[in-house]
Amino acid sequence: MSVAEITEIALEQAPPTGLWRDAFRRMRRNPGAIFGLFVIGFFAFVAIFAPLIAPFDPRHQDLSLIVDGCCPGPSRDHLLGVDDLGRDELSRLIYGARYSLLIGVVAVTVGLTLGMFLGATAGYFRRLDGLIMRLMDIMLAIPGFLMAIGIVALFGGGGLLQVMLAIGIVNVPIFARLMRGSILGQRETDYVLAARAIGVPGRQILGSHIMPNAISPVIVAGTLALATSIIDAAGLGFLGLGPQDPATPEWGTMLTGTVRYLQTQPLLAIFPGLAIVIVVMGFNLLGDGLREALDPKLRGRA
């Protein structure tokens, strides 16, 4: 939520040029963004082809490997060691990429869709503005992570779907505010005034004139929100609110389980932790790259 908040501040006044080709060209010259894209691509590849890459079934247990209550470290058979149930750590990390990316994408899609709808409605139909934005203010008053926990509790405790929805809902006010600000900026532009003057209906103006131009800051914020969503999902998993089936190789959940073995086998906590850091870094780099590419203020420099 943090980075998205700054983006919001940085972008609220961004003019809506939306010259995508231009932006793409600038992106290509930004090594950070390229690297971010590469990292994300790598994890996406691993996620998609997990069954082909992973040496073991991530759920297969071998209790006989466990010594002194916990887990032997890396060996030739198990390159990153096994976890507390004798499951291959590397295979779990590989399959874990699926869950983290899925959680991120679904959560952001939920937040983006709802938030954009509310924000656009508030920005364009001024009569609803007060009501919607007060509602958003109320939601923003509750610290995001606390609200996510609260929503998960409301859904009857942990679960993959619950976590995705909760994080998505927490993201709603951020996107709503951003969209509204962006639309407000668009409303008074010449082409919108012109469209209105020739009698184009409100909904159509919103859909085909304002939205396309107001959307670029939202896309940047969305990329950065992917990063925070993955972190928040891991946090929920860490608090034991992750997937109902504990055998699910989700990174956050993998971290919770292994924190108790930090003294015996710290690697078990370090591997999933690092995986999260790297993938989140990828999204942050890409988001920053996008922002720099789209933000005219930084254009001269990036």
């Binding site: 247990q61 209790l63 002194d68 209550g69 942990g158 504990p246 055998a247 003294q263 015996t264």
Partner: protein, 550 residues
């Protein structure tokens, strides 16, 4: 370039500051020689043992108050404490206690027969706000009712009256014979407190708040607990520490250390780290995987608590197809109990064959056993006319660590995998231990199978299989009614030999009927600094700090 240098200098200065701050901490670790700092898993609820049932509260009570009887340190054997002897008459309905002379409460008032009767009468006359299960749990469990039961409280009191025969003799009259009555008097919740202090600090006054929580209006339960024990209460600041001070006029062997500090650290890993960094002297509930870490550390040691618990999987026979004995047998053969016990308990546990630990009388050698055998399970399921895989819901608790299941989720995952090898399809469900999980299991609306367990409160089989099976319970669904009958007969029986045989018979019957599958008895562990001596771990966690020195 100069700017970067400046930044570097600033950063350097800052890290120096951090280092300076850090090095200062060493001196703080030189702990007072005369103080024991012990970490508990949570804050006490109240300091009046009669109105609590949680471990941290009872641990404080163990130091401050004493009962008429207690257990021999490290065992469940009943020995005299504030009563020097007792005799039963009138068919086990009248009990006469000879009391120890010269004992004084911490407030200087004498302990005598009047004090004994004041305590018994206090419990029996508890006002409505104190009667709910969540408050006077142990009194209610043992004595079953109150003089004026509040609305909604089922009352069938065992206690009838208390008589002061003379200053050093008290007599308790019961309404019916009870064989577990004397053993139950060792419960810290039934220990003796100063009637004067109870009155002075309004121990019996309190209201249920709008949220239904007992709010004592007096200060007894938070600031003035008064017993006869080797330590007396000094101060308590929630979120910080609870301080106990040696009772220098104690009637028996005086405590070795001047002061005991109890500190609540709910997180397991945090307790271990606090011990390693020297912030505490010892802690309860060591997890199996940390034991080797502690043993490797030359300044720390492990103390074993004798096994007095059982971890088990309940089978709810009210949920089809668990009503079929063949299916229950398939479950028993499908749980890889040997592997779980061997791999997860660090060699500190044994596979349970029945619902009570082997040290207790009434344990039967020749119960039916169910070794892990996936092929046999599948065969049994087919015999029962089911198509494989058989889908079942299996529940486990979260946010809990008990001696018999340090990590419930881990046990669950291993069991789920072995059941799936045995012709079942497991649907995983979980809930936080308190409040949802236990309530759900007990109401019978959790899964077909549920992971749970029990730690004994006092040394009587009735505290194990009696609690589980003496009356019909939704936890198990319908079970062989003969089991209820036998356990009721065993409770009334006062002859130890006959009781033992009856409980053995009950255990055989239970394991043939399979209302659930017991799988582990474990020795929980405590960890201490090597310098700490004299701590005796108790199977029922009744552990006085008095003999401890360092």
């Amino acid at each position: 370039m100069r700017k970067i240098l400046k930044a570097g200098v600033a950063l350097g200065a800052l890290s120096l500051l951090v280092a300076a701050v850090a090095s200062g901490s060493a001196e703080g670790q030189a702990q007072a020689k005369d103080t024991l700092v012990f970490a508990t898993e949570g804050e006490p609820t109240f300091l009046d043992p009669a109105i609590v049932s949680d471990g941290p509260s009872l641990r404080v009570a163990d130091q401050i108050t004493e009962g008429l009887v207690t257990v021999k340190p490290g065992t469940t054997k009943i020995v005299p404490d504030l009563a020097t002897s007792w005799t039963g008459s009138n068919g086990g309905k009248r009990w006469t206690f000879k009391l120890r002379g010269g004992v004084k409460f911490h407030d200087g008032t004498p302990f005598n027969a009047q004090a004994v009767c004041a305590n018994f009468n206090r419990w029996y006359n508890f006002p409505a706000a104190f009667q709910p299960d969540s408050v006077a749990y142990y009194y209610y469990t043992v004595f079953g009712g109150y003089r004026k039961p509040a609305q909604g409280i089922t009352s069938d009191p065992l206690f009838s009256s208390c008589q002061v025969v003379n200053a050093s003799t008290a007599r308790i009259n019961l309404r019916k014979p009870s064989a577990s009555f004397i053993a139950a008097l060792s419960l810290p919740s039934l220990s003796m407190q100063s009637p004067t202090a109870l009155k002075k600090y309004k121990a019996n006054a309190g209201t249920l708040s709008a949220d239904g929580v007992l709010r004592p209006s007096g200060t007894y339960a938070t600031e003035h607990p008064t017993g006869t024990g080797p330590y007396k209460f000094k101060s308590w600041k929630i979120g910080d520490k609870l301080v106990l001070e040696r009772n220098d006029s104690y009637w028996g062997k005086k405590a070795k250390l001047k002061q005991v500090i109890l500190r609540a650290i709910p997180d397991n890993a945090a307790r271990l780290q606090a011990l390693q960094s020297g912030e505490i002297d010892g802690y309860n509930l060591v997890e199996p995987q940390d034991i080797s870490t502690i043993k490797r550390n030359s300044s720390l040691k492990i103390i074993d608590r004798p096994a007095f618990n059982v971890g088990y999987v309940t089978i709810n026979s009210a949920k089809a197809p668990m009503n079929k004995l063949l299916v229950r047998q398939a479950v028993a053969h499908g749980l890889d109990r040997e592997a779980v016990v061997k791999s997860f308990y660090g060699g500190r546990a044994q596979v349970a064959t029945q619902f009570m630990p082997p040290q207790l009388f009434g344990w039967a050698k020749d119960v039916k056993k169910y070794p892990y055998n996936p092929a046999r399970s599948r065969q049994l399921l087919q015999q029962a006319g089911l198509t494989l895989p058989v889908e079942i819901e299996f529940w486990y608790p979260t946010d809990i660590s008990r001696g018999y299941m340090p990590d419930p989720q881990r046990n669950f995952q291993a069991f789920a995998a072995s059941l799936e090898n045995s012709g079942f399809k497991v649907v995983a469900k979980s809930a936080p231990w308190r409040p949802d999980y236990v309530a759900r299991v007990q109401a019978g609306n959790a899964g077909h199978l549920n992971l749970i367990g029990w730690t004994g409160d006092f040394g009587d089989p009735d505290n194990f299989i009696g609690t589980f099976f003496r009356t019909p319970q939704n936890t198990w669904g319908p079970i062989n009614p003969k089991i209820h009958a036998i356990l009721n007969a065993a409770l009334r029986e006062t002859d130890l030999e006959k009781r033992t045989l009856t409980y053995q018979q009950a255990n055989r019957l239970i394991m043939a009927n399979l209302p659930g599958v017991p799988y582990v008895h474990t020795k929980p562990a405590l960890a201490f600094k090597k310098s700490v001596r004299g701590y005796v771990a108790s199977p029922i966690e009744l552990e006085p700090f008095a003999p401890v020195s360092k």
